[in-house]
Structure formats: structure tokens, C-alpha cells
């Protein structure tokens, strides 16, 4: 039985695609057969982050329109055996996503034995985002520690609980997870960013992890490498914790405490 996980946020630029890439990679590294689908038709990015942009021949829209089959469109990741990418089309727009088409592709992927289907949602609350969340079983709601991002995530949470298939059919609600990205404890302490407490006070869904603000993310995406592969970095460790918690393990929160300047720095003001 495959599980469909949507990575969503409402606001753009908060780290949905970065998270989709690392989350899917992390699940695959744990041995689960995983596919990650880019729903951002017209503004595809996932293939760049996953470093497979030159291998895109057929895409998600081709499969929806039955111009290609899944075996032709699925791109096998070079670093993980169990990971596949379904790229978005750059030349079409989101109206090319039909609900029946999306459902058929998801069903076909489930029939191929995928354990996890990760849907990378576009920003906004239009058709692309609605399609990405519609069939989801679980949702990673990606939020930055700032007011506008929190409000957009709140809006998305409202839609998850009213506009998705589980909500419409009155089934068990989508399991929601809050993932805070670009968290900088020092800036929180200085009052420049919302704290974990502030964010949870508004959103009130379980926290699955906190990804610290870091240059590693940019370096990784420039190399076409999911950030979770950047061994030894805080970002990579934080994403690994997220995957462990998603799979039911308990992990203490890391990288959320402000770093005090060392005694020497304080003495010499450097």
C-alpha cells in the first residue's frame, strides 16, 4: 500500500522543492521505493535540485495525457536505487493537470509497488496546489519563521481539511506535519524571526522538524544534489531527523538553540 505525501506551503520560496528532494531521497536511503513528482507545471525546478534535468525526455503531463507511459517518464536517481523522479513540464501550464489524469497516474504508481509517492506542490492555492494535495494521505507543511509564511500555511491547512479527497469523502483526516525551514536561532533571539513557540501557537499541528538556515542549501541546489546528501552538515542531519520522525522514531530537536559567542569573542569583541 503506497502512501501519498504532499509537500506544501502556500507561500513560494520557503523550501518546498528542497524539502521534497531531501525527504524523498531520505526515504529511499532508508530502503523504501519512492517517487517524487513535480506538480509545478510550467515552472519546473525539482529536476534541477535532483540533478536530473538533462535526462528529462517525457514528463508528468505527457503521462497524464497518455502521450508516454510511466516507465518512459520515470527518471531513476543516480545516487539511490529506490528513488525515481517524475518531472513537470516546462512548456505547459497547470490547466494541463486533470484530476482524473492525476488519480490514474497515482494509482499506476501504487500498482508499481512504490512505498511513498512524494508530491512537490507549487506555491499558491490554485489548481496545481489543489491537485498536489488532493489525494494525499499525509502532508508536510513547510513554513518559514515569518508572519506571511505562517499565514499562508494556515490557509493551506484549512484547505487540507476541506478540499482534499479525504475531507470530501469524510474519511480520516490527512495527517499534518509542520516543518520549519530557514530557522535561525540567533535571529529569533534578537526578535527578527518568529520563534518555534510563536509559529506553533498559530498553526497548532505537530512539529516534525526544524531545518536551520544555512548556505548548504544553496550549495546543494547549485550542484543538483538534494541537501540531505551534504554529509556532516546541520541541514543534512536535520533532514535525516525529519525522516526518522516521519517513520515513527523519536528524535530530540537539534539546531534550535542560539549559539552564545565564545568567551574569547566576548572579550575581544570579534
Amino acid at each position: 500500500m503506497s502512501k501519498i505525501v504532499v509537500v506544501t506551503s502556500g507561500k513560494g520560496g520557503v523550501g518546498k522543492t528542497t524539502t521534497s528532494a531531501s525527504f524523498a531521497t531520505g526515504l529511499a536511503l532508508k530502503g523504501f521505493k519512492t517517487v517524487v513528482i513535480d506538480f509545478d507545471v510550467g515552472l519546473r525546478n525539482l529536476d534541477l535540485i535532483m540533478g536530473c534535468e538533462r535526462r528529462v525526455v517525457y514528463d508528468f503531463i505527457n503521462v497524464i495525457h497518455q502521450e508516454a507511459n510511466l516507465n518512459q517518464a520515470l527518471i531513476k536517481d543516480k545516487k539511490c536505487d529506490n528513488l525515481y523522479v517524475l518531472a513537470a513540464s516546462q512548456t505547459r501550464d497547470k490547466d494541463a493537470l486533470s484530476q482524473e489524469g492525476v488519480e490514474r497516474v497515482l494509482n499506476d504508481l501504487a500498482a508499481m509497488g512504490f512505498d511513498y509517492i512524494v508530491c512537490d506542490s507549487p506555491a499558491g492555492i490554485e489548481i496545481g496546489a489543489l491537485m498536489a494535495m488532493h489525494y494525499a494521505d499525509e502532508a508536510l507543511v513547510v513554513t518559514n519563521p515569518e508572519v506571511s509564511s505562517v499565514r499562508d500555511s494556515d490557509r493551506i491547512l484549512g484547505m487540507l481539511s476541506s478540499k482534499t479527497r479525504r475531507a470530501i469523502e469524510g474519511r480520516e483526516a490527512i495527517k499534518e506535519h509542520l516543518l520549519i525551514t530557514r530557522y535561525n536561532p540567533n535571529r529569533v533571539q534578537e526578535g527578527q524571526m518568529l520563534s518555534l513557540q510563536d509559529i506553533q501557537d498559530i498553526l497548532r499541528i505537530p512539529l516534525i522538524g526544524v531545518i536551520p538556515e544555512s548556505e548548504t542549501v544553496l550549495q546543494a541546489s547549485n550542484q543538483g544534489l538534494p541537501a540531505v546528501h551534504m554529509q556532516g552538515t546541520e541541514v543534512s542531519e536535520a533532514y535525516k531527523d525529519v525522516i526518522e520522525r516521519f517513520l515513527g522514531q523519536e528524535r530530540p530537536l537539534r539546531f534550535v538553540e542560539a549559539q552564545k559567542p565564545s568567551l574569547l569573542k566576548r572579550l575581544f569583541g570579534r
Partner: protein
């Protein structure tokens, strides 16, 4: 197929006219919203003539009234009720007949600007006759609940960007951070109660205050009650902490 016909629902604002005196109406409108304001954002508008079923005269200066509303960034698209001549006039102006329209959203009445008008019996506020509408799920940004003709009780948080609207009282037993509009159809005795008052907007019978002026510290984030206080001709919202 090159097209698809779908059933769609669309929230409308309703402007209930309580007087056939267009000049006075326009004057009241300008007083309340100014000639051109940023208060509305191209909202679709229904003109409710229900209170104007007596007599059979078309409205004088109807086109001027429409122009005024359009200048305020409202789009008059439909009408409801009214005498035959009025209906013909509205239809001739390109408005659609919408007698079936339900007050599913906040009715924008001219009540707050109306004290100068003679209160007609037809416009008297209705007391909620049925039990309150109970909402036990959190209301998130973009979500709206309207308790038509009754009170509203919300037991979970109302987040920024969400709207709770009732024709009667509103009770929120959790943080109230969105907009709360009580007495939406003009009941000036309606109140808003919250156990943690942090609302973006509070409105009772059309008199409102936004959070642009911060709530006083003695009620902010505290249990509080909001009611409408009339002093001479002016109305204001009185916010008191609940001990």
C-alpha cells in the same frame, strides 16, 4: 470540448437600501466610505431592494448611485426584491435578478450610517430565534463562518485571516485573532466575547475597529467583551475585560 460549464458559488456583498431617497443614500455613503476608498477590492455587489416594495416609482439618479458604488471599487451585478418599476430599472441597467440569493456572507447594510433615517419597522433588527451555531474546529486563514439569524459559538482558535460572522452574538472560547462581525444585519445589542482577544477587526452592527490601533493592554490577549455603545449621535465599540 473547448469549454466546460460548471456550477460555481460566489460570495456577494449585499447592499440593503432602506430609503428610496437616492440623494440621501449617496450622501450617507460618502460620509461613511468617502467618494473613492480602498475599503473594497472589486467586490461583487447585490442591491437588495426588499425594503423598497412600496410604491412603484423608479429610483431617481439610479445611474449616479451605480457610478458611486463603482467608484468605491464595488461591482453591482444583481438585484433582489423591490417594486416592479425598480426591478425593470435594475434589469435595464444590466443587473441580474437574484431573488434566490441567500445571505451566506456578511450583509453590508447601511445601518451604521442610518441613524439619520427613520427606522422603519421592516428594518428592525431580528433577534436570533434559534439556538447558536456551534463550531468546534479551528478556523484558519481564508475560512469564514456565518451564523445566519443566530448566535455563533466557536470553541477553537480563529486565526488571522479567518472571519466569524453572526447576526447575533459571537462567543470564542479560544484565541480570537481573525475578524469578528456580530450583529451583521444591524442588531446593535449584539456582543462579541472572547477568552483571548487579539482580533484583527471587531464589528458590531456595522461599527468597526481594526487592529491598526492596538487593543488597550487591559484587554489585549485577555478575556473580554465587546459591545456597541451609543453616546448622543456617535457610536463606538466598548471593550471591557471580563474579570
Amino acid at each position: 470540448m473547448s469549454f466546460e460549464l460548471k456550477s460555481t458559488q460566489w460570495p456577494l456583498l449585499a447592499l440593503a437600501l432602506r430609503s428610496a431617497d437616492t440623494q440621501r443614500l449617496m450622501q450617507d455613503w460618502r460620509q461613511r466610505y468617502g467618494g473613492e476608498s480602498g475599503f473594497f477590492d472589486q467586490d461583487a455587489l447585490l442591491l437588495d431592494f426588499s425594503a423598497l416594495s412600496e410604491g412603484n416609482e423608479p429610483l431617481a439618479d439610479f445611474s449616479a448611485l451605480l457610478a458611486l458604488l463603482r467608484a468605491a471599487h464595488l461591482h453591482p451585478v444583481a438585484y433582489r426584491g423591490g417594486a416592479a418599476a425598480l426591478r425593470e430599472q435594475a434589469a435595464a441597467a444590466g443587473l441580474a435578478r437574484a431573488d434566490d440569493a441567500l445571505d451566506a456572507v456578511q450583509a453590508l447594510t447601511t445601518s451604521a450610517a442610518a441613524p439619520a433615517l427613520d427606522p422603519s419597522p421592516a428594518a428592525a433588527p431580528e433577534r436570533p430565534a434559534v439556538g447558536a451555531l456551534l463550531i468546534e474546529r479551528p478556523l484558519r486563514s481564508g475560512q469564514q463562518v456565518y451564523a445566519r439569524g443566530r448566535d455563533l459559538i466557536v470553541t477553537a482558535m480563529v486565526n488571522p485571516g479567518a472571519e466569524v460572522v453572526a447576526d447575533g452574538h459571537i462567543h470564542v472560547y479560544a484565541p480570537l485573532r481573525g475578524k469578528a462581525i456580530a450583529g451583521a444585519r444591524g442588531d446593535e445589542t449584539a456582543c462579541i466575547f472572547a477568552t483571548c482577544l487579539e482580533a484583527e477587526l471587531l464589528s458590531i452592527a456595522g461599527t468597526y475597529r481594526t487592529s491598526e490601533v492596538p487593543l488597550p493592554p487591559e484587554v489585549r490577549s485577555k478575556a473580554a467583551r465587546v459591545r456597541l455603545q451609543r453616546h448622543l449621535d456617535a457610536e463606538r465599540l466598548l471593550i471591557e475585560a471580563i474579570a
